[in-house]
Symmetry: C2
Subunit: 214 residues, 2 copies
């Protein structure tokens, strides 16, 4: 089977979001054209993306909304619950721990960790902040495969090494630094300063950029 590009997966995720909307509203079918408009892409792109995984559409009609929603959930692995731990109980950690979008999509926060002794033990939303000392054993006991990193850049790689050793399988990194993981661990990084700098560049060199959208 062909390898799937990261950009394709992001679009699948977006298709899913809008298909769920349409499904809720009771719409039966959606054409690649309609989906493309909703998601800000092109009909050809929609069809190509979906065709990597099967033939879900009906010619002359479009895609069956409810069915395709289910297919996409399965493709993205969202039929199950994913246990997530959050490392770092600062402002960003707080925002993420309470982010409804996570729970809605089947991501359950099973633990929040901080190395600051003053924070450990404090109740925090549903969870209690735990010490980093128990992080490794918790990952193994809870079998949480995903970690969200919301800590300063300095300690990021050290913490990553620690949780990788403990068996984590995927990391969503908010620390503004390059981190490296062994090939069996998936990594995605979100860097807010970098995004703002991208806007700064766009404003400074108007017209030099590839496009103004994202």
């Amino acid at each position: 089977m062909k390898r799937i590009a990261d950009s394709t997966v992001r679009r699948l995720s977006m298709y899913l979001r809008y298909l769920e909307d349409l499904d809720t509203r009771g719409q039966q079918t959606a054409s690649s054209d309609e989906l493309a408009h909703l998601c800000g892409t092109t009909p050809a792109q929609v069809r190509k993306d979906l065709s990597f995984f099967g033939s879900f559409g009906k010619r002359g009609l479009g895609y069956p909304v409810h069915e395709l929603t289910a297919h996409l959930r399965e493709i993205l692995g969202l039929q199950r619950e994913w246990k997530v731990i959050i490392v770092g109980a600062g402002k960003i950690g707080a925002a993420l721990a309470n982010y409804r979008g996570f729970r809605q999509r089947g991501f359950t926060v099973v633990g929040v960790y901080d190395h600051d002794p003053a924070k450990v033990g404090k109740a925090w939303g549903d969870a209690t902040i735990r010490s980093m000392d128990t992080l490794a054993q918790d990952i193994q006991r809870e079998e949480a495969p995903i970690a969200v990193l919301a800590i300063p850049a300095e300690n990021a790689q050290a913490v990553v090494d620690q949780i990788v050793a403990a068996g984590i399988r995927a990391i969503l990194n908010f620390a503004p630094t390059q981190i490296s993981v062994p090939p069996h661990v998936s990594l995605k990084s979100v860097n807010m300063a970098m995004e703002l700098e991208g806007l700064s560049f766009a404003l400074t060199n108007a017209g030099l950029l590839d496009q103004g959208a994202a």
Copy 2:
């Protein structure tokens, strides 16, 4: 002049971060090889990226760290201060308003807005939360070119239309929805649920992805 790809700009931003580190430590020069290692890319990529903007390196030696840092800051438009407003005083807005990374890079938060009357008037870090009613006139008065959107998906497009009409020039969107802007406005979106779904896909279809890194 050639158009610059978004991926290139992100890498420039990363080069800058590490060059600043090296500069602080007093390192005089850095080779494309060293920079590539730090940033998780390839030497050829580093040289190509930089070559779009000039010939900054010395053959046989590498790039002068301090000088290149200054060049990159200029290229990215970071020699000046950028005024930023934050729309949405929820958890995410709070995290962003206090994010040191913004200030460090010359982005100053000049206002935080929320449409919830219960929140308006409350002091919040340096700023006081203001009403959305004054948003448009404030954008014009303060001449803030950048808005960070940290509001629910539902109202996102309406708020965008409002601030675009008020003259905003760039938007960093955290609302989990597709928004559209006229071509003269730059837009970047960060969607945390989408990132997690990308990890879910990677975990579910191990080996099907293009690569495990980001």
